[in-house]
């Protein structure tokens, strides 16, 4: 017997209510019920990271979390990064540094890098590679992805007023 639940959470700043079966994976709720198709379905086995979203300050693979687990959550997807028609520094940097080729991994890659830079605003190359180890890219060889994250880190640091 399928049981349904009404789940409420904040998605890119806006409150949403959605009714789901307990077994529904968050990635399907986002893509099929809430029309947020930025997070992609890649491997469906927690390996590739294409479905990465940000939940309550954590990078999470949306293929391995149930929508019902997200009641009360504050969620950010790639759709929420651009503000008022201006790309986020990470989006701009991936564009400028050629941090993508086919683009399939990019939403997950950028959403993960967003949390990485929140936690560590000035990461070393090694810290970027370790911090993005849960996101697979089959095109770029990662070199330009690392450059893009470094570039975005510099942009974000320059935009911050110097603190004592």
């Amino acid at each position: 017997m399928a049981t349904t639940h009404t789940v409420s959470f904040k998605l890119n700043g806006k409150p949403v209510d959605v009714t789901v079966e307990a077994r529904e994976l968050l990635i399907h709720t986002l893509r099929e019920r809430l029309a947020h198709t930025g997070p992609h379905i890649g491997c469906e086995t927690t390996h590739c990271g294409a479905c990465t979203v940000d939940i309550d300050g954590m990078s999470v693979k949306a293929c391995t979390v149930l929508a019902v687990q997200c009641d009360g959550a504050d969620m950010l997807t790639i759709e929420g990064l651009e503000q008022g028609g201006v790309l986020h520094a990470l989006q701009q940097a991936f564009h400028e540094e050629h941090g993508l080729q086919c683009g399939y991994c990019t939403p997950g890659m950028i959403t993960r890098a967003y949390r990485l830079l929140k936690e560590n605003p000035n990461p070393s190359e090694q810290e970027i590679r370790y911090g993005l180890a849960g996101n697979l890219c089959r095109c770029t060889g990662y070199q330009n992805i690392v450059k893009a994250v470094q570039s975005a880190a510099r942009t974000l640091a320059a935009a911050q007023p110097a603190t004592a």
């Binding site: 049981t3 390996h47 849960g134």
Partner: protein, 288 residues
């Protein structure tokens, strides 16, 4: 890949979770971080009738010192272990093992209690719990009982926890100051389970070993304690000859199964090499 249907419960207290577990019976499963259970359910290796989500239960997260022990709530995530200043100071072995588990996204969700309770010999915490002589607090309808990690793991997906009990806390004695530590893990790629891994906690007295714990991951149906290697090393220096003999003795209890990570013989040799490397690194970190 969607799991089969199940009922979902999100209790807010340990008492409510214990009651639900008793009421729903053995077909119900506890949901911790979900990064072992949900993949198994997606592949239909598991089809529980109900999930009891511990994610919103109060009081199951956190790391604190209590006397000469560290107490860790079972729902504490790998990410929290990795970034804990208290653990970096008192139990760096636990920080090192967390750094080798899966990938960042999985570490935000995966929990130490889930890793232990799953009973998978490929998981990394069980061997580390043996090496650190940890105890587990199990909460059931009759109250709490505390069991030693040594003897807790019975076989593949099987532990001493009864069907109506929840692992609520992990208690670890703080090793003496100046101890050396290392978790040496051989894996094919990020996110993979260990081909073999070794956890070492080492205490030197002058130039010889005063006390050493050695435990192995993924080379048998349970994590293994390399008792003969431990006994051999006590009173001896750490040098090439003793490292070789300790590695040889540590390989004796290994009985890994053949899989895509390699043959049983290969994995056993890797386990010996992980013991050698873990001892070397622990020795370099220990103060006489």
């Amino acid at each position: 890949m969607t799991p089969a249907s199940f009922d979902y419960h999100a209790p807010r207290s340990v008492a409510d979770a214990v009651k639900l577990l008793a009421d729903l019976g053995p077909d119900a499963k506890l949901l911790a971080g979900g990064h072992s259970l949900l993949p198994m359910m997606k592949l239909r290796f598991a089809a529980p009738s109900a999930l009891i989500d511990l994610g919103k239960v109060a009081g199951l997260r956190g790391i604190a010192q209590s006397g000469q022990e560290i107490h860790i709530g079972a729902m504490t995530t790998e990410h929290a272990l990795l970034t804990s200043p208290l653990l970096a100071d008192k139990l760096p072995l636990l920080v090192e093992v967390a750094s080798w588990i899966a990938d960042p996204q999985v570490r935000y969700k995966g929990t130490i209690g889930g890793d232990i309770s799953h009973g998978d010999p490929g998981n990394d915490h069980p061997a580390v719990m043996l090496a650190l002589d940890a105890s587990f607090v199990l909460t059931g309808p009759g109250g709490e009982r505390v069991l030693k990690a040594d003897g807790y793991f019975l076989g593949l997906y099987s532990t001493q926890a009864r069907a109506d009990e929840i692992l609520t806390q992990i208690r670890i004695p703080i090793p003496p100051a100046g101890s050396g530590w290392c978790y040496s893990k051989f894996k094919r790629k990020t996110g993979d389970f260990a081909t073999a891994a070794a956890a070492v906690q080492l205490q030197m007295k002058g130039s010889t070993v005063a006390r050493v714990s050695i435990a192995l991951t993924n080379v048998g149906p349970t994590p293994l304690k390399a008792c003969k290697a431990e006994d051999y090393l006590v009173g001896k220096p750490i040098d090439n000859a003793t490292l070789n003999e300790a590695a040889r003795l540590a390989m004796q209890p290994c009985s890994p199964s053949h899989c895509q990570r390699g043959s049983a013989d290969y994995k056993t040799v890797i386990a010996g090499e992980m013991v050698r490397r873990a001892l070397q690194t622990a020795h370099s970190r220990a103060k006489p």
